[in-house]
C-alpha cells in the first residue's frame, strides 16, 4: 500500500470522497473512533446517516436521539467508528443525556470529536463547543444547516471562526450532502495528526478563579503528566463533580 502523495488529487476532498465506503453497523476492528456531538436539532443524525449509510430515523424535534447510535465508514483504507451522541446544550449540569455525551468524550477518548452546530444559531451553539474544547483538543467544527443560514441571510467567516476556535471548520448542508466530502477529509486529517488543533480555552474568567484553576491543574499535571485536559478537570473538581473525582481516584482519566 502506498501512502505517498503525488498529485493534487490525493488531497482533494472530492476525489477522495470516491473512496468513502459506508459500512453501516459493521463496526469491528476500526482504526479511529469519531464522536458526533452538538446541540439538539442541529442535524447530527443526518450527518451520521450521510457518513455511515445507515438510516437512523431523523426528525425535526429536539431530543430525538435518546440512545447512543454507532456506525462505521471506511475512507482512504482507514476504518472509522462513528458514535452519535445525544444532543445537549451544555455539559455542565447532570441530566442523563448530558452525562452520556460528556462521559463518552471524557472516558471514551474519541480520536476526533465532530461538533455539529446550527450555522444560523452559532452564538448559542458555541456554548457547548467551548465546553467540549476544554475537554479534548482533537475536534472538528461542522457548521451545518448552511442552507438555512443562507436563507436567513447570515454570513459566517469560516477562516476567522476557525482561527478563533483553533480547530478546523467545515461548512455543510448535510440534508443535501453538501460539504460531507470535505468533512470526511478533515476528520481523517485530524485523526491522523496531520492537522494539529490549538483549541480555544475559555478566557473570560475572574482572576481568583483562574488562579485556583492554575494551582490545581499544576498539581494534576504533576500526577498525570500526559493528561490533555488538566484545566477542565480542575474546573470539575472545583465544581465538586463526583463522577470526575471518582475517575481520578480510579485512574480512569489516563
Amino acid at each position: 500500500m502506498e501512502n505517498k502523495k503525488n498529485s493534487a488529487c490525493d488531497t482533494c476532498a472530492h476525489f477522495n470522497a470516491e473512496g468513502l465506503k459506508k459500512l453501516g453497523v459493521n463496526i469491528d476492528s476500526t482504526d479511529y473512533v469519531v464522536a458526533l456531538a452538538g446541540n439538539p436539532n442541529t442535524g447530527k443524525s443526518t450527518v451520521f446517516n450521510a457518513l455511515t449509510g445507515l438510516r437512523q430515523h431523523t426528525g425535526n424535534w429536539p431530543g430525538k436521539t435518546v440512545v447512543r447510535a454507532e456506525g462505521a465508514f471506511e475512507y482512504a483504507s482507514k476504518k472509522y467508528k462513528l458514535v452519535d451522541l445525544p444532543g445537549t446544550y451544555s455539559l455542565l449540569s447532570t441530566s442523563e443525556d448530558e452525562e452520556v455525551a460528556r462521559n463518552f468524550i471524557v472516558f471514551g477518548k474519541p480520536d476526533v470529536t465532530v461538533i455539529v452546530v446550527d450555522a444560523s444559531r452559532l452564538e448559542r451553539n458555541l456554548n457547548l463547543v467551548l465546553q467540549i474544547l476544554e475537554i479534548t483538543d482533537k475536534a472538528v467544527l461542522c457548521l451545518n444547516l448552511m442552507d438555512e443560514a443562507k436563507r436567513n441571510h447570515i454570513k459566517i467567516d469560516q477562516r476567522s471562526l476557525s482561527r478563533d476556535l483553533g480547530i478546523p471548520v467545515v461548512a455543510t448542508s448535510a440534508r443535501f450532502n453538501e460539504g460531507i466530502p470535505q468533512l470526511i477529509q478533515t476528520i481523517s486529517e485530524v485523526a491522523a495528526g496531520e492537522i494539529i488543533c490549538k483549541p480555544h480555552r475559555i478566557k473570560n474568567i475572574p482572576d481568583n478563579i483562574l488562579k485556583a484553576v492554575k494551582k490545581l491543574s499544576i498539581e494534576i499535571e504533576k500526577q498525570f503528566p500526559k493528561i490533555p485536559n488538566s484545566r477542565w478537570i480542575a474546573f470539575r473538581l472545583l465544581e465538586g463533580d463526583n463522577r470526575i473525582i471518582n475517575a481520578i481516584k480510579e485512574g480512569e482519566l489516563v
Binding site: G63, N127, L130, K155, I202, N204, L216
Partner: protein
C-alpha cells in the same frame, strides 16, 4: 501512582472551592457566554435588511396561538385520517382480492394436490396464511399512507409546536411537557413511544409518561377504529356525510384518549407519583421543508415495513391459535365456543360480548388482529354462512358484508361504541409490555401499566352501557 498525592489534589480542590466562593458555576457559565459572544461577533454577520425569520414567526404565531392552536391540531389530525381512510380503500380491496380470492384457492388446490392431511392444511393455510394475508391487505395500505404523512409533519417541525401548545396542560396534570412528544410517537406505536420517554430526565415524570403512553391510539388500533366507525357511525347519517361522521368519531376517540392521558397523569402525580414538575426549555426549531421523496422512502422502509413485519410475525401464530381453539373439542363444544359462552355474561354487563373479550385475549400479541378474530369467532358462534369454515380467518370484500356478519352476531350501535372505547382502553400489546419492563426494570410498574387501562376500559364501558340502557 501514590494514593496520597491524589488525596492531596482532591483536598486542595476542596480548599480552593471554599476560597473562590459558591458562585463559581455562574462565573464559569458567564465566562463561556462572554467568549461565545466575542467569537460569534467576530465571524458572523447578518444582513438585517432582509430578515426572513419572519415567516417562521408568523406561522408560529398562528399554530401556537391560544385561539387557533388546538383547532389547527385537530384539523391536521383530521385531514391525515381522512386521507388515510379514503386513500386506503382501493389498494386494500385489490390486495384482498389478490391474496384471499386468488392466491388462497391456489394454495388450497396445491395442498390437496400433494395430499396434505386436513389438519395440517387447515392449520397452515386456513390458519397461518389467512391471518397473515388479512393483516397485509387491511394494514399495509393505511400504514403506507398514515406513516409517511406523519413523518412529513414531523420533519416539517410541527411536533414541538404540539408540545408547546400542550405544555400548560401537562404542567397542570403534574407531568413533564416533553410527554407531548412521546405521546405523539405513541400515535404511531406505543412501544416506540415508551422508548422515546428517555428524553424525560425525572424518573417520576418518565414513569407517568410510560404508564399513560397506551392512551395514544397506536397504529394497530387505528384500523379497528376506522372500520367500526365506518360501519356503525357512518351509517347513522346520510351517505354524503358518512365519511365525515366516521372521521369525527375516530378523532373523538383519539381526543378522548388524550383526555384520559391527562386524567391518569393527574391522578398519578397526586397519589403514588407525587413530586414537583420539572421545568425545561423547549426549542421551537425552524420549519424545514421536508425532503419529500426521501421522507416517503425512509418512512416506508423504517416504519411501515417494520410494523407490518411485526404484525405478520404475531398474526401467524395467532391465526394458528384461533384455528386450534376452534377445532379442538371439549365434549361437543369447541374450546372457542366454550370460552365465548362463559365470557358472554360478563361481556353483556360491559355492552360487549364473549366473542369480543376472547378476541382481545387472543390478540394480546398484536392489536392489529382484533377485527379478523372477532369476525371469525362470530361466524363460528352464529353458524352463518359466508366464511370459509370453523376457525378460518377471512376478509370480507366490503364493509357491508362485515356489517352483516356483525349484526348477525347481535351487534348494535352500543356494541360498536363500546368496542371503540375498549379498543382505546385496554392492555398494551405484548411488545409494549415487554418494552415497558425493559425501560422501567420494574415488575410492579409493568403490571400497573398493563392492568390499569383494562380496569379503566371495564369501568368506562360498564358505565356507558348502564346509562345507555336506562334510556
Amino acid at each position: 501512582m501514590e494514593k496520597n498525592a491524589i488525596e492531596n489534589i482532591i483536598n486542595l480542590s476542596g480548599d480552593l472551592r471554599w476560597q473562590i466562593g459558591d458562585d463559581f458555576h455562574d462565573h464559569l457559565a458567564e465566562g463561556i457566554y462572554a467568549d461565545a459572544s466575542e467569537i460569534a461577533n467576530a465571524s458572523v454577520s447578518t444582513d438585517n435588511s432582509k430578515k426572513s425569520f419572519r415567516l417562521d414567526r408568523k406561522i408560529d404565531r398562528i399554530v401556537t396561538s391560544k385561539t387557533w392552536g388546538f383547532p389547527i391540531m385537530f384539523l391536521i389530525l383530521g385531514v391525515i385520517l381522512w386521507l388515510t381512510i379514503e386513500g386506503a380503500n382501493y389498494p386494500s380491496a385489490m390486495l384482498a382480492d389478490l391474496l384471499l380470492n386468488n392466491l388462497h384457492p391456489v394454495l388450497k388446490n396445491l395442498s390437496a394436490g400433494i395430499g396434505l392431511p386436513w389438519w395440517l392444511d387447515g392449520f397452515l393455510i386456513d390458519g397461518v396464511y389467512l391471518a397473515v394475508a388479512w393483516v397485509i391487505a387491511v394494514m399495509l395500505p393505511p400504514m403506507a399512507i398514515f406513516f409517511p404523512l406523519f413523518t412529513l409533519l414531523e420533519d416539517f417541525g410541527y411536533l414541538p409546536r404540539v408540545a408547546f401548545n400542550m405544555d400548560y396542560l401537562f404542567k397542570k396534570s403534574g407531568a413533564h411537557g416533553k410527554q407531548a412528544l412521546t405521546m405523539s410517537m405513541g400515535f404511531g406505536c406505543n412501544a416506540a413511544g415508551v422508548v422515546a420517554t428517555r428524553i424525560i430526565d425525572s424518573p417520576r415524570e418518565r414513569l407517568i409518561a410510560i404508564i399513560t403512553n397506551n392512551f395514544s391510539l397506536c397504529n394497530g388500533r387505528w384500523p379497528t377504529q376506522i372500520l367500526i366507525a365506518t360501519i356503525f357511525i357512518g351509517a347513522l347519517v346520510p351517505a354524503s356525510f358518512s365519511g365525515l361522521a366516521s372521521l369525527s368519531a375516530v378523532v373523538g376517540i383519539a381526543v378522548l384518549g388524550i383526555f384520559f392521558m391527562f386524567l391518569v397523569s393527574w391522578g398519578l402525580s397526586r397519589t403514588v407519583l407525587k413530586g414537583e414538575v420539572s421545568t425545561f426549555n423547549l426549542e421551537l426549531p425552524p420549519y424545514r421543508p421536508p425532503r419529500f421523496w426521501k421522507t416517503i422512502y425512509t418512512s416506508l422502509i423504517d416504519r411501515t415495513l417494520i410494523v407490518l413485519w411485526r404484525a405478520i410475525v404475531f398474526a401467524a401464530p395467532a391465526g394458528a391459535v384461533i384455528w386450534l381453539i376452534s377445532n379442538i373439542y371439549i365434549g361437543d363444544e369447541s374450546v372457542a365456543a366454550w370460552t365465548i359462552s362463559s365470557l358472554d355474561g360478563f361481556g353483556f354487563l360491559l355492552g360487549l360480548n364473549g366473542v369480543i373479550l376472547l378476541a382481545y385475549i387472543v390478540a394480546i400479541p398484536a392489536n392489529e388482529i382484533v377485527i379478523p378474530t372477532i369476525l371469525m369467532l362470530t361466524v363460528l358462534v352464529t353458524g352463518i354462512a359466508g366464511g370459509e369454515g370453523a376457525g378460518v380467518m377471512f376478509e370480507l370484500d366490503s364493509a357491508n358484508e362485515t356489517a352483516d356478519i356483525l349484526k348477525a352476531g347481535g351487534w348494535t350501535l352500543l356494541t360498536a361504541v363500546n368496542l371503540m372505547l375498549f379498543s382505546l382502553l385496554h392492555n398494551p400489546c405484548s411488545t409494549t409490555i415487554y418494552t415497558i419492563y425493559k425501560e422501567t426494570k420494574s415488575v410492579k410498574w409493568t403490571v400497573v401499566a398493563s392492568i390499569l387501562p383494562v380496569i379503566m376500559g371495564f369501568v368506562v364501558t360498564f358505565l356507558v352501557t348502564q346509562i345507555w340502557r336506562m334510556f
